[in-house]
Structures are given as C-alpha cells and as structure tokens.
Symmetry: C2
Subunit: 125 residues, 2 copies
C-alpha cells in the first residue's frame, strides 16, 4: 500500500504545512527567553513564507483579509528564532524575541486576564 499521507505528516521529517479550507493554520507566538505565550493568530501560505524569508512574524488578518507584518506600525515586531511544528502540521509555535509589548493594548501578552466564574480578572500588565 502507498504510505498514508497522515503518517508522513506525523512521523516524517519533511515540512508539509497543512492549511485548512480557508488556507490558514494556527500560529502561537511565544517569548523565546521564557516560553510565555504572547499571542495567537493565523497564517496563510504567504504569511508563512514572509515570516521565513524575513525572520519577522507575519500573519493573515481574518477581519481585514490581508497580510500583516506584526509590529509594522507599532514597531513591536516579533523576531522569530525557532519554529516548532505540531503532529498534523496545522499549527506552529514561533519562538520569538519580541521588540516590545506583543498586544496592541500595550500588554506584554494578549493573555492578560483569567476567567473566574463569568468575570475576567487582570493577571498581567
């Protein structure tokens, strides 16, 4: 029997990124120095290519339907040091050096609130 493509993706040594029916995969940016999760966004093939070519994280904005370089306006770019790939290759971890706060609100990480019952409590600046 021919090899199962799923086996290739999971056990193989070849990068075969799997984009979903909208052409997207999930990218989690973490701080390379302490592994803190900074933000999560989506990448299409162009965003992944631009990230790899430039070394700076690029994403696909679903709301604006456009490619964006993280930090293009704010200057808070994410310099990508390492990329980890998950089992079925539809999600990436970008280990980054952030030039500043990763969140557009000014927080270091977008995940600055904890859910307590129905309330959100700020846990990070």
């Amino acid at each position: 029997m021919p090899p199962d493509p799923a086996d290739d993706r999971e056990a193989g040594t070849v990068f075969l990124p799997k984009f979903d029916d909208r052409g997207l995969l999930t990218a989690i940016a973490v701080d390379a120095k302490n592994s803190e999760i900074l933000m999560v966004a989506f990448m299409n093939e162009d965003a992944l290519a631009a990230t790899r070519a430039s070394g700076a994280a690029h994403f696909w904005s679903r709301s604006r339907q456009s490619l964006w370089k993280k930090g293009e306006t704010s200057g808070n770019i994410l310099r990508v040091r390492e990329i980890l790939v998950d089992c079925d290759q539809d999600a990436l971890i970008l280990r980054c050096d952030p030039a500043g706060p990763a969140c557009h609100t000014g927080a270091r990480s977008c995940f600055y609130r904890r859910l307590e019952g129905e309330a959100l409590v700020r846990v990070k600046t």
Copy 2:
C-alpha cells in the same frame, strides 16, 4: 456615543467569548505545572460549555464535525485548572493537569519537532 463593543471585550471584566464565522475559537492547552504547550485545537460554544461544566477539556473536531472530550478513548484527559482569555476574546489558554501524553502519537506535547530549513527534527519525546 455608546461604548464600543471592542473596548468592552478588551478592557472589560465580562467574559464575552468571540466565536468566528464557523462558530469557533482557538484553545491552547498548556501544562499547568510548567506552562509547556501541549496542543492547540478549536472550541465551539458547546465545547466551551462542556469544558467549564465538567472541568475536562472538550474541543470541536473540524475534520469529524463533532464535539470530542480529549482523552475520552485514551484516558489522557486534560483537567482544566485555569482559563486565560486574550484581548479580543477569540482565543483561550487552558492551564491543565494532563493525565498522560497529550498527543495522539504518544508524545507529551504535539509540538515535538523543530523546523530546520525544509526538514523537521524531533526535539521532544
């Protein structure tokens, strides 16, 4: 002017999860004891409700188009200790106690390979 709903979502203390046009948000499961990223998946409203009601992580399978309790077959459930919410409330971090390997391949984390050029190199067992 009425308050901007985006401001409520970002700065407010009320949990207003934002599901996308497919009814999904992104959920990143991490190990509560060391913050290692274990897996990433999607949740619809039912998966989020089942997770919160049971304390065990539930997700929405896009490929099977069904609700699944992580570990229902393998026993490797993820007991959710804490939920962090991102700025626009369309992504969650689930801080979990994993009962066993989180990845269906048997790896502790789904992110067991690093991208090096076009090759994937195993970095975790």
